[in-house]
Symmetry: C2
Subunit: 765 residues, 2 copies
Amino acid sequence: MVALMPVGNIGRSVPRLESRAKVMGQAEYTHHLRLPGMLYGKIFRSTLPHALIKSVDTSAAKAVEGVFRVVTIDDIRTVIPHPYYGPAFHDQPVLADGKVRFAGEPVAVVLASDPRVAEYAASLITAEYEELPAVLDEVEAATSDICVHDELKPAATFPDLQHLKGRRGTNVALDYRLVRGNVEEAFAAADHVFEHTFRCQQAMHTPMEPFVSIADVRDGRMTLHTASQGPSFVRIEMARLLGWPENRVRVKVPHLGGGFGGKLYIKLEALVTSLSLLVQRPVKISLTMEEQFFMVTKHACTFTIKSGVNNDGKVVARKCRILWNGGAYADIGPRVTQKAGFTSAGPYDIDNVEIESLAVYTNRPPAGALRGFGAPQAAWAYECHTDLIAEALNFDKIEFRRQNLLQEGRPQASGTPVHDAAFEKAMDQVADRLDWHKPFDRGNGRIRRGRGLAVGIKGITSPTTSVAIVNLYGDGSCGLYIGTVDMGQGSDTVMAQIVAEVLGLDAEAVHVIHPDTDVTPYDMGTLGSRSTFHMGTAVRLAAEDVLRKIDDLAKELGLPPNSNLPVSEMLRKKYGMQAGNIIGTGSFIPDYKKPDPETGQTPKATPFWGVGANGAEVEIDTETGEIKIVKLVSVVDAGVAINPRAVRQQVSGAAIMQMGFTMTENMVFRDGQLTNGSLADYKIPSLLDMPEQFVNEYVESRQHSGPFGAKGTGESSTIALSPAIGNAIADAIGVHLTDLPLTQESIFRAIQKKNGTPLPEDDND
Amino acid sequence: MVALMPVGNIGRSVPRLESRAKVMGQAEYTHHLRLPGMLYGKIFRSTLPHALIKSVDTSAAKAVEGVFRVVTIDDIRTVIPHPYYGPAFHDQPVLADGKVRFAGEPVAVVLASDPRVAEYAASLITAEYEELPAVLDEVEAATSDICVHDELKPAATFPDLQHLKGRRGTNVALDYRLVRGNVEEAFAAADHVFEHTFRCQQAMHTPMEPFVSIADVRDGRMTLHTASQGPSFVRIEMARLLGWPENRVRVKVPHLGGGFGGKLYIKLEALVTSLSLLVQRPVKISLTMEEQFFMVTKHACTFTIKSGVNNDGKVVARKCRILWNGGAYADIGPRVTQKAGFTSAGPYDIDNVEIESLAVYTNRPPAGALRGFGAPQAAWAYECHTDLIAEALNFDKIEFRRQNLLQEGRPQASGTPVHDAAFEKAMDQVADRLDWHKPFDRGNGRIRRGRGLAVGIKGITSPTTSVAIVNLYGDGSCGLYIGTVDMGQGSDTVMAQIVAEVLGLDAEAVHVIHPDTDVTPYDMGTLGSRSTFHMGTAVRLAAEDVLRKIDDLAKELGLPPNSNLPVSEMLRKKYGMQAGNIIGTGSFIPDYKKPDPETGQTPKATPFWGVGANGAEVEIDTETGEIKIVKLVSVVDAGVAINPRAVRQQVSGAAIMQMGFTMTENMVFRDGQLTNGSLADYKIPSLLDMPEQFVNEYVESRQHSGPFGAKGTGESSTIALSPAIGNAIADAIGVHLTDLPLTQESIFRAIQKKNGTPLPEDDND
């Protein structure tokens, strides 16, 4: 092999390649794009959570000057006979089809060259409904006779969902079960049994860049410019909807202003595709911040957890039952149910485990993936539960965890062995940053202080595929073709570092070509902390393929070994001028067929483990419930950090985001209607909410199967952050809150209840 | 290897893939593109052919409301210290630099958001000059003391031009010489010696889509959207100008409305690149049809040819001296001089050959490549000369040619052996279509009729490189990444046919991705009939690489041989869903190191031979000189025609174009000023000029080194068309015209002169 010196790209905090473009306002976003003849679509939405549509009156809208067309599902059906889509279930119509299933569901679209005209005209549409009883709560919905869908329609692409096909009379879209050992016998034999129920609220992704998609059909091809985290998926699903081969659909994604799982799968793409096909013009739809509440959300859930524990502190059995509130359409909810399900017993080594995880349809806006894929909801339950047990049995909370944490090589509940997962190391670092073993003044007056910590585990969506091309040009500079979407997480930079390390370049010199399915090869999606591991490996393989080809070229040219002739000179020798390319390709899917050398088991649940530990120190005004987060500590396992600063930014970004879901964010419904659907009423964290001390770190524990030892870290600090704060509050006020968010009001109510003076209940849904 | 059935894509007249988009007005052209914040540039041009610039007064232009900036070379130099470019010589300044070298040379540019404002303001600019004597004629310039350039500056990329570096006091940019045998001895020994001088006029490419380029510099990258035939060259040359690596320059080319060699190398690209860098905004410049006369042209030339012929009709010696009028800047002229030079003795087997071919600077608009790369100018001389000899020695014109034509395996003048070149077959087919061997009535009154034919040879620019990527998507549909520019010649379709044939698909199902140097790999350029042969081979190799990888995948999956499992199913088996890619790459440069098996000689002049034969039947009104082309026959050697209809369209397109250069097109200068610089005065062929019978055909003579036996045909019918018509005129009126074009006036003058009543000379330059 040609000897190229690594130039120290791994472990170097290379500044983001795109920073300058963003700061200078030169970064491309889909919102900027205008195409000749383009129409803007504005959506008319349902006002009821569950109803049959008797009629839609579009006459006033059509009469508005400048309106090009008003479109309902009947129009869509003239170009797409079966206009239903979805990643797990083909259950979502492009526009409401005879029935609305949540308040805010798109019913009609007005198209006009002027978006203000379209908006005004859309406001003139009216619909007549026959109202149906609605079901909003996941617990109620799981057994209700009120069915959101008449029949389950799993996507043919998922063999494991096919047994659900045609199932009727239920809102349970998926019932995931995992049984290991015998929990009932173990509960009976255990010294102590604990059971608690926890609840998480529905929340929103709130990307800074709202949803936007443009479809441009011409000459038998469909080009989509879209703010998507999954261009390959969009292409395949649009090709299916259109009945076209993949190569007639092109999906281009420039920079993304955040995604967090919201911009995965199909969002506006099916709608704009249908509209463009119908009117044979480019069509753009961009949502307002308010409309985003009706697109996709974070699952609310109800989690009952029961554990058998012996006097020595060993957890011997655990039973988990989670009902996930999936809203009106499945989106990727069934996969969240399954993936968060199998880790819902936590990062603990428990011989007897039984898990039931149910995806439940309700008449709410759909829920999907949100930075953690359900793992933070599960951890909220199992880590509050852990503290409750430790408190009840009077164990040190760290030592109790340490005794039960999964160790290297041990099988997780799913049977998948644990490797390269630094649960204990991360926890100890959090404890250290909290001065856990030093005396702590909890106060005894109006102001009380508390500390808490928690440890989380997450499986990675699997098995999934990434493909990369590295193209070395005639002067030795290079381009990297990847479908990974850089939505702020820094993937361009990290992938450039990997190419650079293999080829002996500077990362700054690598040009990353943004997703365009015509040219960047397949990638399953930018989601679930998978890119550094999966695409990183594909990129490494592609760069190594280039190295091999350079080696072949050197031999072809008869160069002596280690001639150190620059590649540009080799190409010049071969082609007689500055010409040619050396093109390498890399394709990666984790190998699930190879059994683990130690256990002999074939791993299948995850190719690596997401590991995060969090800690919090809080101060509470017991007379008002007001809470101040004095210190928030997050430590993740990064494997080997390819870009230390980028990892820390991921850790802090995820922590702030999860802090919002923990403290304030909550979609509040009344009679099935969202009552706080604006950023004035729905409160995301601001600068004023930042913790006084905000510690974001990582530990390194080489991921042996990862590129240069790396693993993904995008979600790891979300997992256990809520219980860390919840446990700190309990430490301060002596009572555990079970429901998120942990608002001033809920803290105040808990204090009042503990003091024997409970406040009257709120009447929200 | 996986067995895929060829579905008969080769030899099938697949309709152009892009036809529908073009007919529907949906094809993308650079002219359509508008970018946010884009400025339009309008050029202020010199009014003198040769002068020092004393001052440029831009004050009135700057005062126009809406003018963003007025730019001269001094401004350009603030961002590009050495603003000179060119493919062969770095002799052309981005804007005139202290001196103007032709009337029409760009001196300043006005930038404004409104192109009409820019145009108006440009009209207010004035310049003060110190006029220098100008030299317009190539013969005069070759020995003149008036030097267009002080010093020769060959591009460092061409090692064979380096000996010219720094040469001063000459307008001869390149003196190409070829000596074979000893002509002087052979002349002395020959039975007859003939010498004639011929002249060709300067003409224009006249693409339907005028020149247009947009440069968009942002974030340290330069993106060019440009109507170019050579995106890879533009990238490399702009990277050189900017001092940047290639991967910071991106060149995108959508459809092209014709190129014909005019849109090769650097045209507006250096100017818009400099301007965008200077003002940090996107800049677009599009020329009017009139301005195109000042961009690049077809070489005028003077060709003296001398032959020694024996009584048996064998040509034993030939001496050629060609002076090429390159205009003020070299462009690719030196290469034209060289490439047309080495075939300027024609398609004949002559033992003693001496060729001198000189690229000469003059004070005219620059000349470059134009559909034939000088070969038609050379053939005008050698094939009129051939008829003159045959007439003088009373040989049948076909049999005289047959006796001297190069046969399979014989060395051409350059020593390169001739293979797969159907000179005789093409000539005989032309003769057949003209009913050559049947009696022919030449008339004897006012209307006279004549017939003529000619045979041409052309070498192909070499050695040159093409690289291709074939990407098979998860559903088995595929994309082809190529830098070949489809400018109307049908290359997309032919390349799709090649991919389809290898992979067992329908050509119509292959998606061709248009040139974008970020993604499509290197290609030397779409020029010189090279694409089908070079890129066709690269595409074939890339598709075969895909086949190999499919084979590997089948083995990996343990499939039985010839399982016939579709690739989409294989990918699904491997990846568990519709996912992944199979990516093949192909890189081709003709192997010049391998000696010819018969001659033992190492070929180097050309990888294949362009072969065309033409015939004409004309009718002339001897009282007015009016000429009617009754029949025009063109037959080329296509190797194996991949797309028969596309070949015939190439043949007819080239024939019409060359007919224009033969009959009417002529850039007329007076005092160094172009006097007919508009399509009202400069006459290209219209429907009314079409021959009554227009026969366009090909013969098939497998090109063994070509993809599926194919060779390029884009220029073949231009080569010998002018002498076919010239010879027909001579056959009708009994006198040979020596100067192109063959206008009614020149024919009338020739008749008058023959009749002993010559008209007074015109006083044009």
